[in-house]
């Protein structure tokens, strides 16, 4: 058994506890499991509220023995002076020996009115892997905590006002937001123009173009009398929109006088109005709905050409 007395490896106080440990465990058992144990503690004076104190335990175990990490201390409040901020074990295997570096960080969260002596209680770990668990004891450690003010000054102390929050520069973000808003507005305006305003303007400016689009949609292999009736309505609506008032068979002549560019198809329009009158008011049916619809499309197409021409 290596009863190792470690040299001073740091500026902090280094204590060797091995003998003490062995005193607390059956010597034969401990000799078979523990290769080495060293405990490194810092200075034991000069602490105030908020300071952290780190204890490091270097434990070497013969395999298959190993540290039961569930026996490490839990983080959280320890007593009225201290809390355990961190407790962990770092493992390394080398030549059938397991090296453990156990780190326990304590933090002082209380300030005494005058210099006080505080003790970190004894810790106990267990090893596993042997016939029985072997306890490893870390003895208590005492240190002193100093107040942060003099007893007289405590009477006149008052809380300082809260520190003002640090201003984050947001100008660049505002500019980015503004640019994004402008881009989004522009996009929405374009979409409204493209899909809402433009079709309406075209419908008003070019009623026959709009009517032709509807007629082409009505042209299907199964087009029946109903399609032809819808087509006639669309065509009449285009003529009415062009005239600015309702055009009937009776005032078609006036329409052609006022819109002379449509005069070349006067006969076709007159025949169409007569047929429409028969269908809508005499309840006649188109004999060949598909052919009639095609004829209507042809007339509408010619009207579209006229409407885009200069009168």
């Amino acid at each position: 058994m290596n009863k190792n007395v470690s040299p001073r490896s740091r500026g902090d106080t280094l204590c060797v506890w091995t003998a003490l440990v062995l005193c607390l465990t059956p010597a034969a058992i401990a000799a078979q499991s523990i290769s080495d144990i060293r405990i490194v503690t810092p200075r034991d004076f000069g602490y105030t509220i908020g300071d952290k104190i780190r204890h490091e335990m270097h434990l070497s175990l013969y395999e298959p023995h190993q540290l039961d990490t569930t026996t490490l201390p839990k983080t959280g409040r320890l007593n009225r002076w201290l809390e355990i901020a961190q407790a962990e074990a770092i493992v390394e295997h080398r030549d059938a020996i397991v090296f453990y570096r156990i780190i326990v960080d304590y933090q002082i969260f209380n300030a005494p009115p005058q210099l006080a002596s505080v003790t970190i209680p004894q810790l106990e770990f267990l090893t596993t892997g042997g016939a029985n668990p072997i306890p490893v004891f870390i003895p208590a450690w005492t240190f002193s905590i100093a107040p942060i003010t003099s007893p007289h000054a405590r009477q006149s102390l008052s809380l300082r006002p809260d520190r003002q929050p640090h201003a984050i520069p947001v100008i660049s973000r505002s500019i980015r937001l503004l640019i994004s808003a402008l881009l989004l507005t522009g996009l929405l305006m374009y979409l409204a123009y493209r899909h809402w305003l433009l079709p309406r303007l075209n419908r008003e400016r070019y009623p026959f173009s709009s009517a032709l689009a509807k007629l082409l949609k009505l042209q299907r292999p199964d087009s029946g009398p109903q399609n032809y009736r819808f087509g006639l309505k669309a065509f009449h609506a285009a003529v009415n929109a062009t005239a600015g008032h309702v055009v009937f068979a009776g005032n078609l002549h006036d329409f052609l006088l006022a819109n002379s560019k449509y005069a070349p198809i006067r006969a076709e329009l007159a025949a169409l109005y007569a047929r429409s009158q028969d269908i809508f008011f005499n309840d006649a049916e188109a004999a060949e709905p598909r052919a009639s619809l095609q004829e209507l499309v042809d007339i509408c197409r010619r009207c579209r050409t006229f409407e885009r021409s200069v009168a």
């Binding site: 008032h245 009937f248 009776g250 809508f280």
Partner: protein, 343 residues
């Protein structure tokens, strides 16, 4: 259509007779073709008519000429502020033997043969008279001497001049709605015709002029049957029915069609639009118009032909606009017809 006619009335023959009446009236009333056509339509639709126009435009002559062509009893009464309902029902006198006698008044004199009753200057008569006429027009009957007198062939014509408004009683809305049409009689627009009226001695003597009009071109007792046959046989498609309905509904809310009249607050113009009775009268008159034009079905132009005459007096304006009724009603109906599409 011909098969139906043979079972009812020979509508084609009657159309010729109607056109003959129209021709006879045109001979004595020059420049009034539209008013004459409307009068014929009203006659064959069996509707009562108000004539409105300036003084001396021939309203009375036109009605007397129409009465001659129809045959049957004709009576006329002048509306005055002291006229009472009893004046239409009876009058009293002392006979040759010095005994007091009661005789039937103008309304009862002809009994069921009364075909044409002309109420001249109807707006000069008191509301009591309007009330009596309302019943006569609506029910074609009146109660007197403990019994009911019926006038199955009666057609009432009323006349009012638009020049004088003092000491007049405006016809109430309910009475106005009973009239099928309000026909405006304007002087001929053609200067040549006006000169003829001024120069030609033929037009100077009304009695002699009326003698030229053929009497009893039709049998007034058959007019009701002919009217029923016309209504049954002239077809109205779904499209024209919807169109007529849209026209009538537009009179209640012209703003919805975007109609604007000059110097008018459109939101405050209309009190009430055309009544359901007015809607039925519109199609009734349109069927007769179609029949006179030789159509088998009612076409939009048939509706247009009667729209102003049937609808204008049924649209009720707010009092602030009543004085401009003639101008506003004409413009309103014109714009409605130009705004509502069919099909």
């Amino acid at each position: 259509m011909t098969e139906n006619l043979s079972s009812d009335v020979q509508l084609a023959d009657w159309q010729a007779l109607a056109l003959a009446i129209e021709g006879a009236l045109k001979k004595v009333m020059v420049g009034q073709d539209k008013a004459i056509r409307l009068l014929c339509i009203a006659t064959f639709a069996r509707g009562h008519v108000i004539l409105e126009g300036n003084i001396g435009v021939g309203k009375t002559t036109l009605l007397r000429a129409l009465a001659r062509t129809l045959g049957g009893g004709y009576e006329r009464i002048e509306g005055t502020v002291d006229l009472m309902p009893s004046d239409l029902v009876y009058y009293t006198y002392v006979d040759a033997d010095g005994k007091p006698q009661v005789a039937p008044g103008p309304l009862l004199k002809h009994g069921e043969a009364l075909a044409t009753f002309f109420f001249n200057e109807v707006n000069r008569a008191r509301p009591q008279m309007h009330s009596l006429m309302l019943r006569v027009m609506a029910e074609r009957s009146v109660s007197a001497f403990n019994r009911e007198y019926r006038f199955p062939h009666l057609q009432v014509f009323a006349d009012r001049n638009r020049v004088e408004r003092e000491e007049t009683f405006e016809i109430p809305a309910a009475a106005r709605d009973r009239f099928l049409m309000e026909i405006e009689i304007e002087p001929p627009a053609d200067p040549g015709l006006l000169r003829d009226l001024m120069v030609d001695p033929r037009f100077h003597d009304t009695e002699q002029l009326l003698d030229e009009v053929a009497t009893a071109i039709v049998d007034y007792r058959e007019l009701n049957g002919v009217s029923v046959a016309i209504q049954r046989n002239i077809h109205t498609s779904d499209a024209i029915q919807q169109y007529a309905l849209n026209l009538c509904r537009a009179t209640s809310d012209p703003v919805a069609l975007g109609i604007r009249l000059p110097d008018t607050d459109m939101a405050r113009l209309i009190l009430a639009g055309v009544s359901p009775r007015g809607m039925s009268y519109l199609l009734r008159a349109a069927r007769v118009a179609a029949w006179l034009d030789g159509h088998e079905s009612v076409l939009p132009e048939d509706v247009h032909e009667v729209f102003l005459a049937v609808v204008a007096h049924r649209v009720f304006f707010r009092p602030a606009y009543e004085l401009r009724r003639g101008e506003l009603a004409k413009e309103l109906t014109e714009q409605i017809m130009q705004s509502i599409a069919t099909p």
